[in-house]
């Protein structure tokens, strides 16, 4: 094994694997750190996700993410030509190379799609949606009916963006947070695969909003005070409208001539009971997501700084924890974030207390 490695590493070559595994548990942090990063380099990319997933939180903190820099963005942007079938997609852009002239929508996706991959890679050492380097496929100009065009979605394998009708909605590529939102649905699918109904469905939606807003904040270099915490502030036409607010759920649009008023609650006191049907938004998944969204906002604003550095770290570690079950409730997720805040920062820390405060203000 040693002779085949061009990057000679003294510890990896001298110490047999079983001893390296023992050193990962060493109380000397420097020894444990070197052993963990040796192991990480030696396992195949396909096994990294499992390896990292099985590490203790204290060990995860010792990972040298620079060693994973060989991971590269793998992304394609297609024009689906106003159909609903990806088979009609024309490849416009592939891993940094434009194959056709890029219109505004294509440029939006190249920018925000790259920013989203970078966010997960640079902050959380995540290699794409599946953490195994999955090819990201974005399709612009989706749909030929008003209803298809007025939407963006994740279809289980790729992201699709409509142009909007130009009357109520503009292009769904104009907001970084929407692109981050859809890609995060993919990550949830490959991690906990939260059921898309009732509270677990609302958590699924909330995670997409939480990471969508952080991706926008990072791309715009905004701290928690500089951000307006709005999702879709450009796509819903009209200066005073957005699609959702994490800071003040229920206020993103008020008395809109076509779609009325944002129905999202901020706390459990206003939880909306809806049937698990398409008409009931599968138990209000886009409604009650306002509650965990608000918990995250309060946590992040209380901690201060850049949201992704601490609050985001707590939420990400909870999102990818194997203890997060498909049918998780808000309380289950609350307990996971508290456990992560405790493990990362301790119960006397500002970060732990902020997490407690976040869920308390959302009345979960």
């Amino acid at each position: 094994m040693c002779n085949n490695h061009s990057n000679f590493n003294r510890i990896r070559c001298i110490i047999p694997p079983y001893i390296n595994d023992l050193l990962m548990e060493n109380s000397d942090e420097e020894i444990a750190k070197r052993a963990i990063n040796n192991k990480l380099q030696s396992v195949a990319i396909g096994a990294r996700r499992e390896f990292i997933g099985n590490l203790k939180l204290s060990q995860k903190k010792l990972i040298n993410f620079n060693k994973l820099k060989s991971q590269k963005l793998n992304m394609e942007v297609y024009d689906i030509k106003h159909t609903t079938d990806p088979a009609f997609g024309v490849l416009l852009w592939q891993n940094g190379t434009a194959l056709h002239r890029l219109d505004r929508d294509a440029k939006n996706i190249v920018g925000a799609g790259t920013g989203t991959w970078n966010f997960y890679h640079d902050i959380f050492a995540r290699n794409s949606i599946d953490n195994l380097g999955m090819l990201l496929k974005h399709y612009i100009h989706y749909g030929n009916t008003e209803d298809d065009m007025n939407n963006a979605m994740w279809d289980g394998q790729q992201m699709l963006y409509g142009d909007g009708d130009g009357k109520i909605f503009g292009s769904f590529t104009t907001d970084i947070d929407i692109i981050g939102h859809e890609l995060t649905h993919g990550i949830t699918q490959f991690e906990s695969n939260l059921d898309y109904a009732n509270q677990s469905g609302s958590l699924n939606e909330s995670l997409s909003d939480v990471f969508g807003i952080m991706i926008k904040q990072r791309m715009l270099n905004q701290d928690v005070n500089q951000s307006n915490w709005l999702i879709g502030e450009n796509v819903l036409l009209g200066n005073k409208y957005a699609l959702r607010s994490l800071k003040a759920p229920g206020t993103a649009y008020v008395n809109h001539p076509y779609i009325g008023t944002d129905p999202q609650p901020a706390t459990m006191d206003d939880f909306i009971n809806l049937p698990n049907t398409p008409q009931g938004d599968y138990g209000g998944v886009h409604f009650n997501s306002g509650i965990p969204n608000f918990a995250f906002y309060v946590t992040a604003i209380t901690i201060g700084g850049f949201a992704w550095e601490k609050a985001g770290k707590i939420w990400y570690n909870a999102m990818v924890d194997k203890k997060l079950k498909r049918n998780a409730t808000f309380k289950d997720f609350k307990n996971l974030t508290l456990a992560k805040a405790k493990a990362l920062y301790g119960t006397n820390s500002k970060e732990y207390k902020a997490t407690v405060k976040g869920w308390k203000e959302a009345k979960v």
Partner: protein
């Protein structure tokens, strides 16, 4: 026969509805439903997608709007053209 089309969901959950009085026989209705009924979509991984439902004779059928047979296209075009937002 009154036929209602509902479009639900999307990035924000918005409902739209359309109702028309269609000249359609029970046999035609059965044929239409057999062609477009989505049946079980419980394993779908689609997120933020829109759902199309047909409501007729107190039955709600979740449908695949891309599978409407040619003979019912004009009926669907009329339903789609009359969709109104439900606030």
């Amino acid at each position: 026969m009154k036929i209602k089309l509902q479009v639900s969901g999307g990035f924000i959950a918005i409902n739209k509805e359309s109702v028309i009085d269609a000249k359609i026989t029970d046999t035609d209705l059965d044929e239409l439903i057999a062609a477009i009924d989505l049946k079980d979509n419980s394993n779908s991984q689609i997120r933020d997608g829109k759902s199309f439902s047909l409501i007729v004779k107190n039955r709600t059928i979740i449908i695949d709007s891309n599978k409407v047979p040619e003979k019912f296209k004009s009926l669907f075009e009329e339903l789609m053209a009359n969709l109104k937002y439900q606030k």
